[in-house]
Subunit: 275 residues, 2 copies
């Protein structure tokens, strides 16, 4: 009945509801919410004892649809996700894989991030050209917060496309440095606005010149981590109904915010200074 061993679990969270993903004393984070739930349902004793590991750390404000944690547990696999979802408000667990004792989710084949940039007339063709400059093995010293790490990294691909009011940018690599996606996106945004040129980008990728800013965290979503696992999909409990409700609320909220934007533009149009 009970499978003992190590499992990996795919999970999602809305970054605006947390103060980052990592455990921090006194702050509510995606990790602390998960750990609380794991302990509460009796799946683990402690993070250390059960070797709790997370595939990707995300900054404050960044969301995830496909982050992964691994943990040693003898909790019944079939019931784990529903139990966790019942005691986590804002972290949603939806897939599970049985993994070897020595498995670490940090050793990934690839990671996929998506950034949502507001469209405001940027030159998309130029941005696509700029994106090409980042592909392959590059020196990302000016495009990260190095934290003392080697800053040579290999970026598999960057693609971008406009979707209505958004520019959607997909970036894939095996490993990212801290703030790397947000710094690349900020540089591409400046390029698209004509505030920097392709030459500036090339120089920056040779470590010359200055950093080109940091795009805001709220636009970023960790879409998936490729660990070469075969995922299983046990019941997720309340997740589908929570997801339906939140999607509905997000639609209503977008209507409201678009209404507010319309009003503020209307108000500018009819601006009168004669009162």
């Amino acid at each position: 009945m009970t499978s003992v061993g190590r499992v990996a679990v795919k999970f999602a969270y809305d970054g605006t509801r947390f103060m980052g993903s990592q455990r921090q004393p006194g702050e509510r984070t995606a990790e602390s919410e998960l750990l609380c739930a794991l302990i509460k349902v009796g799946a683990i004793i402690s993070a250390d004892e059960n070797r709790f590991r997370v595939a990707s750390r995300t900054d404050r404000g960044v969301s995830a649809l496909g982050n992964v944690f691994a943990v040693d547990t003898d909790f019944r696999h079939q019931e784990l996700l529903a139990a966790l979802n019942a005691s986590c408000e804002d972290v949603h667990c939806y897939a599970l894989a049985e993994v070897p004792k020595n498995f670490s989710p940090r050793r990934a084949r690839g990671r996929w991030y998506r950034y949502h940039l507001p469209y405001r007339g940027q030159d998309l063709e130029l941005m696509a050209q700029g994106a090409k400059e980042f592909e392959g093995e590059r020196e990302f010293r000016l495009f990260c917060k190095p934290d003392g790490k080697v800053t040579l990294r290999t970026l598999s691909s960057i693609t971008l496309r406009r979707e209505g009011e958004l520019i959607v940018i997909d970036i894939r690599a095996r490993e990212f440095l801290r703030n790397m996606v947000r710094r690349i996106v900020s540089a591409l945004d400046l390029l698209g606005q004509g505030k920097v040129g392709l030459e500036d980008l090339r120089s920056a990728l040779e470590g010359q010149g200055r950093s080109m800013g940091l795009a805001e965290a709220e636009g970023l979503v960790l879409m998936d981590v490729d660990l070469g696992l075969e995922w299983k999909y046990p019941a997720t409990g309340r997740m589908p109904s929570v997801a339906r409700k939140r999607a509905h609320r997000a639609r209503v909220n977008l209507r409201f915010q678009e209404g507010l934007l319309e009003i503020s533009e209307l108000a500018s149009k009819f601006r009168n200074n004669d009162i």
Copy 2:
């Protein structure tokens, strides 16, 4: 330079950020936020002394794009909205009218509410038929929280249409009773789902039978209050940039929530019980 007198101001707020619109001890509400701002910028001394009045009270969770307050003030009209927007985080003031000393925004010609219902296969034609039943002078005893008031009211119009995943319902009347829109919407929703029939609706409008539920507050927006005023549009300060930023965040959030919904549906599709 300074116009002394009474002014009416149009304002908007996101109801999910407040505990209702009315002042309540110890709770953050749209009214308390407005009053704080009015006092902070020096436009009024107190709600009573400056005869602060609001056109429509909205329940906890309900938003407004076109609510109106009136107040006696000698603050320079040209600068009032920008000053209020600078000291209100979540209430947005965007139009102003000079009004007579005896003006009360509660005496309106008409009010327009919009409800956003999730579309899940309801029979829209039947709902439109049902909506007709509410138009004109009707007994709304079973469609409100009466609070001891007369429950005979005249509803000018209800229209509804599907827009993607939403059913958008516009309801207009001179005066509404408490919870009236949400109770009408809930009845129409049940009708559209085949859970009640047109006959049940008709009986309920004759005060027969039971109430038909209360739609959730978050779907409701007070769109406008018609007071027969000529609105002026002085500068609104930071409102346009705040509105742009929030609309962007709402778009990103909708993408995330739709992603989460997709994942949870995918997970159901691949559900396996063999682990």
